[in-house]
């Protein structure tokens, strides 16, 4: 939920992200997520968007906290996330 937790989550993804090839998609699945916050999302999705831009694809974004957070993050980062 918190920005700090998001920062830690993004750091823990680093080794996995380094092995992503130049053409691979980075898919984020929100299935099972109960609550999503824009601060946590800013650190994780904002970081992914900076690194992979249009290759980030989101799945199962129906949860209202996911939907509304994404909407704000798109405005902050000037980036429209691709949704499956």
């Amino acid at each position: 939920m918190s920005r700090d937790a998001g920062r830690e989550a993004f750091l823990s993804l680093q080794s996995a992200l380094q092995s992503v090839s130049a053409t691979e998609l980075v898919e984020v699945d929100f299935a099972g997520v109960q609550v999503f916050s824009p601060s946590w999302g800013d650190e994780v999705l904002g970081g992914l968007a900076t690194l992979f831009k249009d290759r980030v694809v989101l799945h199962n974004t129906e949860n209202l906290s996911v939907k509304e957070s994404l909407s704000l993050l798109e405005k902050i980062h000037g980036h429209k996330f691709k949704q499956a």
Partner: protein, 242 residues
């Protein structure tokens, strides 16, 4: 013994019901925060059951008093560190998700509370003027959450990035309306925009006070109307109803 306001309970039982120690209740008596209904000549304190119920239910005024004057609060509502706040938010979340009629908006309510509470920690880390942490009280039956802090306040925080800001009113308006784009100068500061977006779109009412300025946000409201608060505080105070 004269019994007023219903059943009288001795200090030990009163302490147990409030979740504080007997010594704390004695201090609250001395400090005038919570006086016993009856104090015998021998010094024994008795508390009206009704008064204790009222004390427990009066979450908002307890939070505002604490934010203003550092009055005693229920220990379980005090989250000194971010980790304690996250744990209490998880507990609140579990209770909220059990209420079927709130199923759709429960994730939003938790996210709103999380953004306001985490904001307090993010913006005051290492800079708490006196008491660190957040007051986080809730009553899911009453559909009520109260959050407060004794931090530096919105104006002092925003002045770090906008030194030209002069008033609590302008600072509060900026905090709730101006989206900080990109990740510079610092990756933070958009949580209250989320709070506004959600509370004007869904049935989640938010009243927020920062310093001497306050605002209320509710469904379908357009614009932000900043008002002068009757009782200025240094930090932040929020009531969320749903």
């Amino acid at each position: 013994m004269v019994r007023e306001n219903g059943k009288l309970v001795p200090i030990g039982e009163a302490a147990r019901r409030l979740g504080v120690s007997v010594d704390t209740l004695r201090r609250w008596d001395t400090g005038g925060y919570l006086k016993p209904t009856v104090k015998t000549a021998a010094g024994y304190r008795f508390y009206s059951s009704t008064k204790l119920d009222f004390f427990l239910s009066d979450l908002a005024s307890a939070g505002l008093e604490w934010a203003d004057k550092n009055t005693p609060i229920q220990p379980k509502a005090y989250c000194e560190r971010s980790s304690a706040f996250q744990a209490r938010l998880d507990k609140f979340s579990k209770e909220l998700f059990e209420i079927k009629e709130l199923a759709d908006i429960a994730p939003l309510i938790v996210a709103v509370c999380g953004e306001i509470g985490n904001n307090s920690f993010d913006h005051n880390l290492g800079n708490w003027p006196d008491v660190p942490g957040v007051y986080f009280a809730y009553d899911t039956a009453k559909r009520l959450v109260v959050l407060a802090d004794r931090g530096r306040g919105i104006l002092a925080t925003l002045r770090q990035v906008r030194p030209e800001l002069q008033t609590d009113e302008k600072a509060l308006e900026m905090a709730f309306t101006e989206v900080v784009s990109g990740r510079a100068p610092e990756a933070r500061g958009n949580g209250l925009k989320f709070v506004r977006r959600v509370s004007t779109k869904y049935p989640i009412h938010v009243a927020f006070q920062g310093g001497s300025a306050k605002l209320e946000l509710e469904q379908d409201e357009r614009g932000v109307h900043i008002l002068q608060a009757a009782d200025p505080i240094r930090g932040c105070f929020a009531i969320i109803r749903f």
